[in-house]
Symmetry: C2
Subunit: 228 residues, 2 copies
């Protein structure tokens, strides 16, 4: 019985590789588009409930007079997050994956057709809440941001290394809860930098606005487009 399963797994891996290769084709199309339009595209990855949507609401509220932001929301089901973003006054496209665990680059290509991208400075893709699968799928983004809520515990870099290893930015969120938790922030930073020495780390609380200024400054600093 194990032999049959191993053969099936081999076939799955082979097809999985082909799907990843096809995903790369669409990611390249997206990347070219962002470069041509000089748009900073951010792929935001985290566990469920790390506070991605709240971070975006607060970020847009603060920056929308200075820069033009749009959001592509990924969820298994519901349009709740796109509605929350639209309430801030910017464009948001909802992708419902109907149970699938990550976004694919071709879904982003389709979503870009639905956005008015003229004069946009930043597009944020809020990926599915999942610290495992989304990290394997390049969406053509310029930068990748991983969000960790301090309520998740300080062992997450060790247990879910690929999401941290492939990111450009780590936002350690919900720092307002630190007084009520056993969370060693120094350990997390050390673990994260061990996986990825180029990682920029910001400690923030989207709720209280603590530390958000550093994130806003990073988002709005002049930059030449960089490949992830």
């Amino acid at each position: 019985m194990l032999g049959v399963r191993k053969n099936l797994m081999k076939m799955k891996i082979k097809i999985g590789k082909k799907i990843l290769a096809k995903n790369e084709d669409f990611a390249a199309v997206n990347r070219k588009f962002f470069k041509k339009k000089n748009i900073l595209c951010i792929n935001m990855i985290s566990s469920p409930g790390s506070g991605k949507t709240t971070i975006l609401e607060k970020t847009i509220g603060q920056l929308k007079k200075k820069i033009n932001i749009a959001v592509i929301e990924g969820d298994l089901y519901t349009k709740l997050d796109a509605e929350r973003i639209r309430a801030t006054g910017v464009q948001a496209i909802q992708i419902e994956t109907k149970g699938a665990c990550h976004l694919n680059a071709d879904q982003i290509t389709n979503a870009l057709h639905k956005l008015d991208t003229d004069n946009l400075d930043i597009i944020v893709i809020e990926n599915i809440g999942n610290l495992v699968c989304p990290s394997d799928f390049d969406l053509g983004e310029t930068m990748r941001v991983v969000v960790l809520s301090v309520a998740e515990g300080d062992d997450k870099c060790r247990k879910y290394p690929q999401s941290f290893a492939k990111a450009n930015i780590l936002l350690i969120n919900k720092t307002d809860l630190l007084p009520h938790l056993d969370f060693d922030i120094k350990k997390v930073k050390k673990d994260a930098l061990k996986l990825n020495k180029h990682l920029k780390i910001f400690e923030i609380s989207a709720k209280t606005a603590a530390g958000m200024k550093n994130w806003f400054n990073w988002l709005t600093e002049p930059r030449t487009p960089v490949s992830p």
Copy 2:
């Protein structure tokens, strides 16, 4: 380009279905084994950092003199959780999936060969921290427990319905943090029961022990083995 991707997806779905069917074969083997040995097997599913391992540490600490418990730990990488469980004085087997996003039934079959299962009352399988993929894979368990940390927000039943719809028990954990959060526990219970009217719900704080007694009572109540 989209056509090629669609064909690949169709092939992936076909192979995925075969893998699920093969998984069912192993799940049936495991289920038969648990029934024969009269072992309550619990498959514990949640997002990363909901507090599964702490719940288990506290549960074992309280109940190990009354009943015999063993744990099968699933993680992408590291043996940290099995070490934490072994420190409580019971058997623990670590499965490292090397990046894969869920446990399969055949991994449980293998782990069972490594456990001394004579006189065991309960085996808990702590699945990978992922609120999406593990819910699709039957491990042959008697009961499925989903854990939600209140720090994750009160919209999770709507956004990740399958994990709640397929569970027997919902543990709402980290209730000690409620005074510091905007979390509507009534809404969560209503949403969860709408998905699954048979769901039993316990509000707990593994940290402060609040509500844990109800969970301990449920775990130790006399029962005839039930199929999930």
